[in-house]
Symmetry: D2
Subunit: 134 residues, 4 copies
């Protein structure tokens, strides 16, 4: 199992007139956190695309438990429970500065060959990095 | 049952370097479509907040079936299957210009009293409008 | 001189906790309006890129006169005063539903050859369309 | 004179199909950098609003010199050359990881009394913090 944490500070432009973080911004936070996870295991998503594989999102689920506010420093905990196959699932837990769980979610991403547009296996170099955690 | 359709044209800034609409923009499209639905039944979300009730999102689920591209004119079909209680569920189907279903999703919104911050019943005036469809 | 008008309805996610449209969203509105202008003269920005020319923005200037609010239907008036050379300047005036001028701005875009990355002349087919207005 | 630096990593959702950071995202980067500047002098923008003063943007000017790309770690250098009066001007320089200047800009923000909606002087506590740099 692989778990990492990433901190994100809420931008003014990410709030809405309710003074909450707009619900549509959490997917962006999730993206930052999983990009960071990939970097932390010694690889980058840029290398993924350079090796001809992209990872579009196939599924997104979000539960909004409590609001986040402007300038909050959020902690996004990302967990990958299973070794990637042709797809990869990430789970997210978002905590505010008081340590309260305010949001949970998950995304399923698919490995796609950028030439053929078809699902493919993850690059072997990426698999080598991630296998160390399983 | 209440069903409406709303057209949205994809903005350049909503694409990402994959040349797809970024996955985090669909919640924004859903919001436009449900705002439009509320307007079409003779009420507005602005009136909702003026009557002291706001509707934060509690749940979001999205399935990405096919990509949307820059300048595509998408049709968002929104369906409300059940009369709102203290919450209201919207289902979405997104079609591209070729009529292909490219995305489905749903959101659950909660009626919240803006003074107390607690769940509440929808404004009666809103219920009168929506009951006509059930 | 070429002038067109485009209507945009403000999305909830485009407001911030001040309850104003976030200042960073006007460039997006400008983009929608100039895309629409290009369509209205019988061409599309997608055709531009298909013909190997892209138009990155080189300059942006914005004056915020009055706020725009959620669900406002804004009118963006775009004016092109000079025939494009290797660059093209657009001027914007944004009016709210009461007809008040709330925002003005301009952008300079450059025609860039997508293969060489160098400035280039606009596609001749595009120039034919736009010359009719000058 | 007051100068601070803030690092921002480009998010995937902030790129567009040109694979550049979308031009409309620089105002968001500027906001992050000036929020960070205010924090670094021992105050916060949240305190500003809590003391009844908000700072809407009145003017924005941006020059796009070179593109920024996904996952680039950008450095935003912010400079305030003059003590705030009823308004405050920030200048920005954005550098990429290679140290190249890729973008410059400036914004003028106005201090507005949140009750009256009129321009006002900055909170005295904020002025005390900032005077140390002039």
């Amino acid at each position: 199992m692989l778990t990492t944490e990433t901190k994100i500070r809420v931008r003014y432009g990410e709030t809405d007139q309710m003074a909450y973080v707009y619900y549509g911004n959490y997917p962006l936070y999730y993206e930052v956190a999983r990009t960071d996870m990939i970097r932390k295991i010694g690889w980058t998503y840029t290398q993924m695309e350079k090796s001809g594989v992209m990872m579009p999102v196939a599924l997104l689920n979000v539960k909004y438990l409590l609001p986040a506010y402007y300038d909050d420093e959020l902690t996004i905990k990302v967990t990958v429970k299973n070794l990637p196959t042709k797809k990869m699932e990430f789970e997210y837990e978002v905590f505010n500065e008081q340590g309260k769980l305010i949001n949970t979610g998950n995304t399923t991403l698919v490995f796609v060959d950028m030439k053929t547009g078809k699902p493919t296996n993850p690059p072997e170099e990426f698999m080598e990095k991630i296998r160390e955690y399983f």
